[in-house]
């Protein structure tokens, strides 16, 4: 699975994978560039990287965890009410600071919905360190929508915060998002179309 982001104004591909145990080390090694390290948003990205790494390690030992789309489909075919952990990773071999530039920690619930638990982008990208990279955060949300649509998940939901509500409102074209969001129906379908048409995304 992949999509395109803008790097210093030029398109570059980002590969999407479901995280495995070996990816957790790369995530826990995210570091903030000194120039932006004190910013609250940067501290949050680092803390989420640590939490994602710990939480996914815990999930790997305690609930079913899908490490590929095929495995995800096999699990839900075999056990329709299974809770399945998913760590969606954006990988970029051209990014010098880390092979992983963003992550979304999610869980498939027993009634075949997906909960977006949190999402974080590499601190150097959030801090605007050169080269400017745009589209990772929105791309990850849209990739999750595409993954959901492709596996017949009718609803993605999650908690919005004071910092993220306006972002969800804009990217989902749903005014007035407060402390929760639902992606379903026409919104889900529109995001899937845009993932393919504008982000040149594909589930391959």
């Amino acid at each position: 699975m992949h999509f395109q982001v803008l790097v210093a104004g030029r398109p570059r591909p980002v590969e999407l994978v479901l995280g495995r145990a070996r990816d957790l080390r790369a995530i826990s090694l995210w570091r903030a560039p000194a120039a932006v390290a004190a910013r609250p948003a940067i501290r949050d990205t680092i803390e989420f990287a640590r939490l994602a790494s710990k939480r996914h390690r815990h999930y790997l030992r305690s609930i079913l965890t899908a490490t590929s789309l095929g495995e995800f489909q096999a699990i839900i075919t075999g056990s329709s009410q299974a809770e399945v952990a998913l760590l969606l990773l954006a990988r970029a071999d051209w990014f010098p600071r880390s092979p992983i530039i963003g992550l979304a920690q999610c869980r498939r619930t027993y009634c075949h919905h997906i909960v977006l638990e949190f999402l974080s982008v590499h601190p150097a990208i959030v801090g605007g360190i050169e080269p400017e990279i745009r589209g990772v955060g929105k791309g990850l949300v849209y990739a999750l929508v595409e993954l959901s649509g492709a596996t017949g998940v009718p609803l993605i939901w999650g908690e919005a915060t004071a910092n993220s509500a306006s972002f969800y409102s804009r990217i989902l074209a749903t005014p007035g998002v407060q402390d929760h969001f639902f992606i379903r129906g026409n919104t889900l379908e529109r995001c899937r179309q845009q993932f393919r048409r504008i982000l040149f995304g594909k589930l391959d």
């Binding site: 395109q4 982001v5 803008l6 104004g9 030029r10 398109p11 609250p40 948003a41 940067i42 501290r43 949050d44 990205t45 680092i46 803390e47 989420f48 640590r50 939490l51 710990k54 939480r55 815990h58 977006l116 638990e117 949190f118 999402l119 974080s120 982008v121 601190p123 959030v126 745009r134 589209g135 955060g137 929105k138 949300v141 999650g158 908690e159 919005a160 915060t161 910092n163 993220s164 306006s166 972002f167 969800y168 804009r170 990217i171 845009q194 048409r197 504008i198 982000l199 040149f200």
Partner: protein
């Protein structure tokens, strides 16, 4: 089956620029590390806890008003007796 759309690089850049305009609103993370950690029973790192404690103390200072209605600042040292 739909044929794959052929798009020039200029058109690709134009679409991506328009699409990523929303990134100005992206806060860097979606979620709150403190509530997520609490919900999952995971410890926050010491440096992050210290950072949040300082942030909270600064917030409290802003909210706290002295009896005369002026914002409370740092406690002033008494002038040394001469």
């Amino acid at each position: 089956m739909k044929k794959e759309e052929k798009v020039s690089e200029e058109e690709m850049i134009r679409r991506l620029k328009e699409f990523t305009a929303d990134e100005d609103y992206f806060p860097g993370v979606l979620g709150n590390p403190v509530t997520v950690a609490a919900r999952w029973g995971l410890p926050l790192s010491k440096s992050y806890r210290d950072f949040k404690a300082k942030e909270l103390a600064a917030q409290k200072r802003r909210w706290t008003k002295m009896k005369n209605g002026k914002p409370a600042g740092r406690p002033r040292r008494k002038a040394a007796a001469t």
